[in-house]
Symmetry: C2
Subunit: 393 residues, 2 copies
């Protein structure tokens, strides 16, 4: 990156995260001379990224003009789940101006899914939400080569392996595009607008259908050598545990995840171990993690026990990762975070007991604040970052 | 760091790692104009860091003067183990010009140990090894606050907690000093002159009296929020395993480490399970990891089994860390690396079986090349880096 690009990126991120700001304060914050700032602002205004926003309140001397991101900037943020599409179109400050959500099966393959994404974006355009897009960020539920902009051997996404997602989106919309995995974008979202705001080293643990971990180190997403860092769902949590979809036994997500919890709840309902779960099973024909959460909230001992067992397993894997990585925060997100305090208390208890005191002395283990919006928020951050990086090209 | 400092650091590291080099090639490699290079070289020569080394072979045009690090540069590299002191005094290229090693008990406390380090260095000076030191790097067997230059709550180092090691060494020798933990300096050493040469993301796993892990991410040692990243000896490897010195049960190093292996070997000798170990126990009165290695080499099934069990446990913890961090190499070092192929084969087998194929497709798991010299080599790298960073101050 050339020096000017780095400056453009800092300047545009400041306007994105802070809002309208006076030229005087901008020069202060960026620590550059005012003439240089004015030159840069002119360039970015010509490129359509910034515009003037009236006069600032006086600081004693000459009144300074306010600068803001161009109000017409629009980014598309797409969060593809195993069974859902979530889209937000946001402005330069990443505030949603339109949102779309629907059920969808990722196994329909890339052509069908990306076609549907295009239809939803075309609808937004027809509704006057945007004239043109300045960037697109998309998260997918599987491993991604971030450099190449393609999914790589994603286990639950048949047909998507090395499909040129980034290239197709960029070409169709004539703007920069970026692809990452769903857990990384949730971590990014939580850092931008959630509980991990401004934290540089933290782990975002998604417990949903599967389990994954977004890793923030030194203020950046850490992706590893092949882009698959954070695949903690297949860490062994119990040597002789149940067989996992990956072929090994005792993997964390074979013991506790949306699928595993539904399986254990159904067994408890059928065996009569839990009358509460048996009633729910009889009423709906199938049980989900949500049923376990509701039964636990009503005091069902078996359901509380299932959640505690799960928390213990997650905690034991996280304790190891705390010993290894010494992060400054752990955020628990994903669908099963709805199980709330019972789950969190058990995770905390194991992590604090099993890790080095030095590493846990000041280690918050907290629930995601953004919940289901973490993904689209992070996708919007990525979309704006890639657009800002290319602003001076 | 100011731009000039960054340039000085790059220039001095290049001379350290490459040796004498012509001015023309230096300007090429650093991608700076020749006049600027000459100015910088003058400054560094005045500060005593570089000197001329004759003329380079002609490249067709004017012959260019060779530049090298001042031959009088001397760094002290100190590796404190639980029961040993290793010191090397090295020149600018980190080649040893003198070495001292002796048994020593870290529990004697910082005053006695650092006094002995000073005596050994004074002896080197009296022998004409150096006139003055340009930097000191020291590794200690426990957690360190790298920023503060002090050990922090080190479990096997009574009396060392927050002892001002860096400050005292720097003051005594009138040069920059730097303190890190023993595993980080071993990883640094292996990257400078061993099997991990030029690898940016790797794990260095030390299996000795205890177990620890040096983490290299993006070309730098990763130390974590509190400086205690890599404390993998206390990751749970077996839920109902033996009680560890830390108070938990089933920690990796309670199952396999120098101490654990000696304990298990002694039990096998006493019970008669292994006649080979029983003979060795009768002969020497006590067994160590070395006895197990020798008995295994002679075909003792029990000893081979103990090493395999250990390798399986280490492998199962490392498999989790590979899933989490997706490194590009794992280096096995420390005293128990002497157990060699049997240990390595078992670790590899478990790591390859238990991690995501994407993460292990091209993941070498190899033995340390530098063995017991890894620590002093890394301490020398740290000493030179800190001296080079301060070269322009």
């Amino acid at each position: 990156m050339r020096p000017d690009e780095a400056l453009h990126l800092r300047l545009l991120r400041l306007l994105r995260d802070h809002g309208a700001i006076s030229r005087a304060e901008l020069a202060d914050r960026l620590q550059i001379p005012r003439p240089r700032l004015l030159t840069e602002l002119d360039r970015l205004a010509a490129a359509g990224f910034v515009s003037e926003a009236g006069m600032a309140a006086s600081r004693g001397g000459r009144r300074s003009t306010l600068v803001e991101l161009n109000p017409r900037l629009r980014f598309a943020a797409v969060d593809l789940g195993a069974s859902s599409i979530d889209i937000e179109v946001v402005n330069g400050r990443l505030e949603p101006v339109a949102a779309y959500a629907e059920a969808s099966d990722i196994r329909s393959g890339p052509k069908a899914i990306l076609h549907r994404v295009s239809e939803l974006l075309a609808k937004a355009k027809a509704d006057g939400v945007y004239e043109r897009l300045d960037g697109i960020g998309i998260g997918v539920p599987g491993p991604v080569s971030y450099r190449d902009g393609v999914p790589v051997s994603p286990p639950i996404m048949p047909g998507w392996d090395r499909y040129p997602v980034r290239e197709l989106l960029a070409r169709e919309h004539g703007c920069p595009a970026v692809v990452d995995n769903d857990v990384n974008i949730m971590a990014l979202g939580e850092r931008h607008g959630g509980v991990a705001h401004s934290i540089d080293d933290f782990l975002y643990v998604k417990i949903g259908t599967g389990i994954g971990c977004g890793i923030f180190l030194s203020g950046q997403v850490y992706r590893g050598t092949d882009g698959c860092a954070g695949d903690i769902g297949h860490i062994m949590a119990e040597p002789h545990g149940p067989v996992c979809s990956c072929g090994n036994s005792g993997c964390l997500e074979a013991l506790f995840s949306g699928a595993a919890l539904a399986r254990d709840a159904t067994a408890a309902g059928r065996s009569g171990a839990s009358p509460a779960l048996a009633d729910r099973l009889a009423a709906s024909g199938a049980l989900t993690a949500r049923d376990v959460g509701l039964a636990a909230a009503e005091g069902d001992i078996t359901s509380i026990g299932l959640i505690r067992d799960g928390g213990r397993r997650v905690g034991s894997v996280l304790a190891g990762l705390v010993s290894f990585a010494n992060p400054s925060m752990i955020v628990i997100g994903g669908g099963l975070a709805q199980l709330g305090h019972v789950l969190l208390a058990e995770i905390r208890s194991v992590v604090y007991r099993r890790s080095l005191p030095l590493a846990t002395g000041n280690l918050p283990v907290v629930l995601s604040e953004l919940a289901s919006r973490a993904g689209v928020t992070g996708a919007a951050v990525l979309a704006s970052d890639v657009a800002f990086e290319q602003a001076s090209e």
